[in-house]
Symmetry: C3
Subunit: 331 residues, 3 copies
């Protein structure tokens, strides 16, 4: 979508310095920008590189106010955020043509909102309910009774087990599996065999959640697994049965969350973190990459970074690493 920097600046709440009539039609990095592209500079030290780039215009922080500039500047407090919003305006999201591919297999009872796009080879079982403008990608499977809110976007080969409910604007990337059986068994002390504990709970996903490629989120055993509004889950993350993840939590790739653990809102979990069962990560805590939280622990501290296994405040952990390095050198 082409527009002018003047119109764009107004829509993303930036102060414009320079020619408001310059046309702009895309966003880019400094190295790949053309004259039709907008770029952004978060830190002053990169400003000269942005000016020297081929970009048509620059989103920059307040530091740029006093700078002589050969290109239009869009000045604001949060350039990266303004850039993200500009991109959302300029770059058309993948657009799906409403309609149902003839090869999709859809049970008669499925209720489909207006503007829905169901692609080739999708399979929708009995009683699914799809809101408006939902996209069901090719090869997607929706088990019986799955509910998808308006504007959900399920990419190719996603698997959703029966009864899972997604809110609005949930994006699920290729190959993710939602609502699979949790990993629960009871050992018969006599035979030594593992018998299956019922995995008949549900999975509820709130609005504006994004779930990465090949991630897996299990349904609850008896109750529900709950992913609240705004949670972002990266590729290959595993969420076990009965977990509850609070609003706006971010979980990076390959992290695993074991059964019945709770991650409260605004927590940040880096990649390859292991959270054992019945853990509580309290609001706003930050778990560093690869750290491990043992069974039943509580992690507390808004904005405090934890690291290591067992996870401890990073300051402690770094002190221990330093002490160990000194000790090893002595010997």
């Amino acid at each position: 979508m082409a527009t002018t920097v003047g119109q764009l600046a107004a829509r993303i709440n930036c102060r414009l310095c320079g020619d408001e009539s310059l046309p702009v039609s895309g966003v880019a990095s400094l190295s790949s920008a053309t004259s039709a592209d907008l770029v952004f500079v978060q830190e002053e030290r990169f400003f000269d590189r942005a000016l020297a780039s081929d970009a048509g215009a620059i989103i920059a922080g307040e530091f740029a106010t006093s700078k002589p500039a050969s290109k239009p500047l869009l000045i604001c407090a949060h350039p990266r955020l303004a850039f993200a919003r500009a991109a959302a305006l300029l770059c058309q999201p993948v657009s799906y043509t409403s309609g149902i591919h003839p090869s999709a297999v859809i049970h008669d009872s499925v209720r489909i909102g207006e503007g829905v796009c169901i692609e080739a080879h999708a399979v929708l079982e009995e009683g699914c309910i799809l809101g408006r403008r939902v996209h069901v990608g090719p090869g997607v499977f929706l088990g019986a009774g799955v509910e998808l809110g308006d504007d959900c976007d399920l990419r190719a080969n996603v698997v959703v087990y029966s009864g899972v409910r997604l809110g609005q604007r949930v994006v699920v990337h290729g190959g993710a599996v939602l609502g699979s059986d949790g990993f629960g068994y009871v050992r018969d002390p006599q035979s030594g065999r593992h018998e299956k504990f019922p995995q008949i709970g549900s999975l509820e996903v709130g609005d504006d959640v994004e779930i990465g490629a090949n991630a897996t989120i299990d349904r609850g055993a008896l109750d529900a697994t709950i992913i609240e509004r705004g949670v972002k889950i990266d590729n290959l993350v595993h969420v076990a049965h009965n977990v509850r993840i609070g609003e706006d939590v971010v979980i990076a790739a390959q992290t695993g969350v074991s059964g019945s653990s709770v991650i409260e809102k605004n927590a940040v979990v880096a990649g390859q973190v292991g959270i054992a069962d019945h853990v509580r990560i309290e609001e706003g805590a930050i778990l560093g990459a690869q750290c491990g939280v043992p069974s039943g622990k509580i992690i507390r501290g808004k904005g405090v970074v934890f690291w290591g296994t067992p996870a401890r405040p990073i300051r402690e952990y770094l002190k221990e690493l330093a002490a160990l390095a000194r000790l090893a050198k002595k010997k």
Copy 2:
């Protein structure tokens, strides 16, 4: 399936105290139970909560024998196990209607047992053999010569490479890949390029195995990868070529087992564990979450818990952590 607590108690070997005629039709957690539901209490301290719940009846340990109770009690030595068995009786498993969906693509040579259900868009190549009551979910791929024993259940979008053999009652969750090529190359010292080592072995999976969503199990290089009876493998687990996993082993999510390692029967492997190549985990050993077993090591000790990288008995590891914490505080 509705029944009475009296009939149920008899089938799961519990001693009934109370009204045997009470109807019961499901299982639930304490918080979600209705009067038609059975709940269980493993520990005495939760017994009052169970009594106060809306549940119709309670499975409880011997501790409940002397308790005054307002609901029928089903008393036994292992309440959790009895509850799992009650659930297996009361909760109908997902039932599949026998038949082949017209969109499935099935080679003429495939042999199909009675009561088999093959769902939409499944693809079965030459020479597959399916036992009785097998379920092949939507979008499943079975390569040439795959054999599935009676009552196997493959959920949506599972991929099974050619020649893989599964025993009876094997459950494979959505997106799992069985029999893919192992990761084996030989470097040409002159060109520096990696040339493929043959990955032409097989994968054999025993009876009563369950494999989690998006798990991957490679075929052997020249011989076989073997998963024995009763093994339970969680989501996103990786099992490499030529691994052998013994009976009733349990492996939690995101663990990886490298080439040619052996896990003997009854071992328990927690989540995110890394087992390098040519390792032997001996019978009944327990590997704690995130621990790492280096190449060629032997882990020995029934019931002994190992932790850390390199994995060592947890008592040692905890002592080391404590010593390190003290050391860091001194400085």
Copy 3:
């Protein structure tokens, strides 16, 4: 493909000792070989076992020159490499019959080279370009504008997002997802909500790359994610946006590489390694299993092994482990 050991020895540059007319038609391990099979011995101490096996002929190192042998010997400097090459000659790779299955859904604009095989239920969107002899497995999805070079082999249920480009002879195993959105958000400091940073870059994969089952490789945010020639990526590996992986790098299972990191050519990355963002792994460095490289770090040293989190030269790490063990014993 049957041949004689004489002909085979000539093709794989081995010196033959013994009857050149012996027919050979396959490769095998020592334990499973029949008289029609070739085996190999990398180390002298296994030579007697090879002689005692049922194998028809043996590839062995120079150490075997002086040995009395009851079977033909194919002698060379690198037996494992010669064996891999013999296997490539003797074992027919999976062969695909050229043609397009009628259930595949292919946009009219797709360009298809000669000898291509597109299997059942594959979906190819607008503008895809397939080179010669490409194999598109069952249930594979190719988004708009995907380009696959000659002899690419995509196994069942692979998902390729729009615009991804693969070189020649790229093998992608079942369930892998290529070109999914990177994990990038900008937090609005006022609402606390995460807004999506554009993920509109590309993914470019060079020749002779192999990608494991259920691996995920994200497209770049604004620029490209780049996997260079000859890279081998194991199952369940995650590669984030804007990563660059140099030629002939090997990455074992379940490793994760975060955004904008660079792995230079010939590096070796073991399993479950975590590489944070903006890291540089320099040429030929070796990262041991489960190690972690913190954000922004540079790892340097051809052939040097690094271990632990934060990753350090293994010699240091082992010293520290030993010092810690001693310290814990004292107390």
